[in-house]
Amino acid sequence: MHIDLKKEIRESNPGQIGIVILILVVVLAVAAPIIGRYDPIQQSAATLLSPSQNHWLGTNHVGQDIWSQLLYGARTSLLVGFSVGILGLLLSILFGMSSALIGGIYDRVIMRIVDAFIIIPMVIVVILVAAYIKPSLLLLISLLSVLTWPGGARVIRAQTLSLKQSGHISASRTFGAGWLYIAWRHILPDLMPILLVEFIYGVRRAVFMEAGLAFLGIGDPMVVSWGTMMHDALRFSYLDVWRWWLVPAGVALSLTIIGLTFISHAAEAVLDPRLRGEAVA
Amino acid sequence: MRRKRCLTQDCEVKPLLEIRNLRVSYGNDTVLDGIDLDLSSGETLAIIGESGTGKTTLGMSIMRLTEGKVRGSIKFDGKDLLALSEEEMRRIRWNRVAMVFQNVNNVLNPVYSVLEQVAEPIVEHGLRNKEEARERARELLAMVGLSSSRLSACPHQLSGGEQQRVLLAMALANDPELLILDEPLSSLDVATRSELADLLKNDNGRRARLVVTHNLDTAGKLADRLAVLYGGRIVEIGGTQDILQYPRHPYTRALIRAYPNMTTVKDLQGIKGRMSRPVSGCSFHPRCTQVIDICRREPPELSWNQGRAVACHRGGIVTILSVENLSKNFGTLKAVNSVNMRIEAGETLALVGQSGSGKTTLAKTIIGLHQPSQGEIFFDGVKVIGRGKDFYRKVQMIFQNPGESLSHRLSVLELVMEPLEVQGIGNKEERRQKAIKVIGEVELPQAEDFINKYPHHLSGGEMQRVAIARALVLDPVLLIADEPTAFLDASVEAKILKLLLNLQESRGLSILYITHNIAAARKVSDRIAVMLDGRIVEEGPSNLVVTAPKHAYTRRLLQTASSLHRFETGVTQ
């Protein structure tokens, strides 16, 4: 079935909103050095200042400019999010497709592993690992990718299985095409809509997890993260500072996730035609 | 023929259901376009239509379950259902009007047992309490033949036949006065089908039933009366057996011809064209074999005659050719002796008899190669006196021996073009194009090297095809085929017969098929007339003549007809 995923997302209300939000976040992240006026890690003024001309969101408990932190935090979230999204997707494709195409014992083994991973809550595994090995950003990304691929693998395997039986693929096989060729030329393109949706899910999960782990204090201490901001801000909840410290970070995080949610909602509607025609108030 | 106020057989009793001018449309698509129907208590009426004709919509409209726009009136026991509030309608649903739905996947709720689902409407309408309702449900399910071990099963655990029984039991739960059945037997195997058909027949005698189906067999088994639906309108209505044996509307006839069954003997034929809604006029006119001008402009009304009605400007299938008291004498020999015969539009009449019976003479008299000694010939209702060019545009003939009927001097193309030249139709190029087109129609190659060939270079079968093409090039309405396969091999004969059937389907031809071979006749004809010594001794629908012949001579013909299997007694099948 010919689905123009991008068009559908663009045309749905929640999809549009989601894309707008995401673009906004990306722009802010990219422009961070320009719009943020200070190095977020250096102390730039006295601690716990209220918002002012120089510091739009004031400063935190070590004197860092909160506004700059907010912008650089966006970079972290997006970096981790998209990296895990892509890596996780690649792994999902690798295992999901190979599972479907090779079949047999290989398939069964992989699927058992996939099912096992799905039931285990990812966050506590990361907590455990992080307790022993202080994670750098790179390690975090790797870890999250390894834990996130099983979800997508199932879906990709299912789709590949059904595509495997389809007419044009059978035809290709009669030309003598090998499975690698078929996977690249025929299956992968047909999978695009699903891959996109899985990718967005992956990004969303990763952004969420990165922030959550930072909130717990397990993140990379050298990296600015919204999660860390919220963690630090929480300790000062008895003061007024939370208004411009905690809330912006939380709102930024939430908006990013909401944007991704909206996009994935629109994408889901595309894949399941029965859900089409969703308008958001 | 005026329309009577009451539309059922028995005009004394007020009908239970009166539908007047029902129109249902979905957006711009009009599915039902003015339906009038009556149904009395105790009667079973079948609505026949192919898919997409709106028959399911009709059933749904009565229960007010359609999402389309509904206009007109549906009177149930005097009250117009379309005017009721939703709450009032809800009370009528299932209690007084119930439906046996088509057995598709998930037509029953998958998470509840069938017993619960049958008992549910009894409880919800306050007829009984839970315990009693379940008891009643058990009775009903036992009555429809569901074994008691299956009562607590969920729908997906049952076979198709069992599910259909549940649907029936469920519909009968509140003892409705009107039962609508949508394809009640379609999903079943043959044995179950007849079992359920009997069950339905033995059900409550006072219940009125509306059976919606595309299946003529179902209609035949279950219904007293039959209404044929086409293009959102009823085109024919009357007693079931009457219509099935003697259809009056071209569509009904075509439907019967297209339906494989053990009764019809003629080979299957489709209906020309595709179902589509023309902008104006009769909805069937693009596919009709007897269209006239008014058919394209105005939709016809149902007109009644002794309990049967047809919606056709021409009053149903017309007689294209009839002969009355026709005789042809050669001196003292009465070759054709006071023959009365008629051919209806779009049908094949087979004239069967042995050599010397006078059949060829009759054919030649009709076409004008002999002058009748007595009697009259009527074409399309008009007496035929002289035969001018007009006549030959409408009636054409194919002769027995193509080697003789085709001139050796002319090429295939020239032969086929000849009638056009004689009639002065079009210019040279147009005639050529038309001839080539018809040559393609008879399944001959249209390439240059073929059409320039001469007949003596062709095989017997090819020559006869050329003859047929020649006959068709004027677009006649009636084709007289005089033993067209007499000089051909058996395998070629089969092809020619097939060709004639296909041409009849695609062009809506009427055919007078003359043969000595009753076995072949029954495969290609709707009606058979048996001729002996210049007289027609028997005539009737093919299947009847072949299975229940009345005349001794017919019986003899059947006995001596080709049969690859020897039977002990009587008539060969």
């Binding site: 991973f117 809550p121 090995i133 969420f208 909130f215 909401i258 909602h265 | 649903r93 119930a98």
Partner: protein, 324 residues
């Protein structure tokens, strides 16, 4: 609507993975495994006898396989190690904190499931209406807020600013109350954390139910039910609702996992003395035995919950049967 049926092998693999992870991590670290298991600070304070005892107990001087075996057996005996900081067996420490977490998780899971179902059914029934679109927009947005952030906002608004609810803990300390007042006290303290968790996890159940409802409403049996003249209420709940519930129930195992992780964060925000708080403290003080113990317990509980759901599911969806 088919559930993914995990069979026993899957659970086995998951269990093995968890145990193996727990086993391998400390032993992958450089240096003395005992250091890895207990951390530097704890070791400094240990007596040599204690160290020797621990080495023996964990078979640290024996080959890896035997170590794993010993570890495995220890788990089944309920021996999750010993927390130096709390000076008590890990199991006991965890069990001390567990009830509060169960309270939070249980209440939130139940509430969010029920509310999600109810709202999802209503929304799906009225698809496209103003109610539906508002709910959809609202809940999709709500879905974006991480549970700890929701908690923080609730805390700040209702706790700090409005003062309706207490700011920390599960009980008012040293109050000495009992009976009904005690119950009320507990409720007051858990109100905000439960609210946070419920709100954060409401959307997933809602969306799933709503989507299922939309699909179910188009099914042929809904028309059959309408034809039977059944009331709107019966149609909505008995027919459509009942069929729409199924996917959410299937997801209970997975949702439990999510709510449990969420609880970890929320407890932090509200200083609620549950397992989450315990974990956080353990992370700060490098109390590895406790961290491992928590991981094991939480992971296994989630596994068990999933297993239970798988076993119970065929009871509510007759189309699915055991395929073990």
């Amino acid at each position: 609507m088919k559930a993914i049926k995990h069979n026993l092998v899957t659970y086995g693999i998951a269990f093995l993975f968890i145990v193996a992870l727990n086993f391998i991590l400390p032993r992958m670290m450089p240096g003395n495994p005992l250091t890895a298991i207990y951390g530097d600070e704890a070791l400094i304070a240990m007596t040599p006898e204690l160290k020797a005892h621990l080495v023996e107990r964990f078979a640290l001087d024996k080959p890896l396989w035997e170590q794993f075996g010993a570890y495995f057996i220890a788990i089944f005996r309920g021996d999750l190690g010993y927390s130096y900081y709390y000076n008590a067996p890990v199991l006991k420490v965890i069990l001390g904190h567990l009830p509060w977490t169960l309270l939070l998780v249980g209440s939130s899971l139940v509430l969010s499931t029920i509310l999600g179902l109810m709202l999802g059914i209503e929304s799906g029934w009225r698809r496209g209406s103003k109610t539906d679109r508002t709910l959809l927009a609202g809940l999709m947005s709500l879905n974006g807020f991480p549970d700890f952030f929701v908690g923080m906002i609730l805390l700040l608004v209702f706790g700090v600013m409005l003062g309706f609810f207490p700011l920390a803990g599960a009980l008012t300390p040293y109050s000495g109350i009992s009976g009904l007042s005690l119950v009320l006290d507990v409720l007051k303290h858990m109100a905000l954390p439960v609210a946070a968790l419920t709100l954060a996890h409401l959307a997933s159940g809602y969306l799933l139910t709503r989507n299922t409802m939309i699909t179910v409403l188009k099914a042929p049996f809904m028309l059959t039910a309408k034809a039977k003249g059944l009331s709107q209420k019966v149609l909505k709940y008995r027919h459509a609702g009942r069929n729409s519930m199924l996917p959410v129930i299937t997801m209970t195992g997975i949702r439990l996992g999510r709510v449990v992780t969420g609880a970890l964060f929320v407890e932090l925000v509200f200083a609620y003395p549950g397992v989450g708080q315990l974990t956080y403290q353990a992370l700060l003080s490098r109390d590895y035995p406790v961290i491992q113990g928590v991981f094991l317990m939480v992971a296994i509980s989630v596994l068990l919950a999933n297993c239970a759901v798988d076993l119970l599911y065929p009871k509510i969806d007759p189309r699915v049967s055991y395929a073990y």
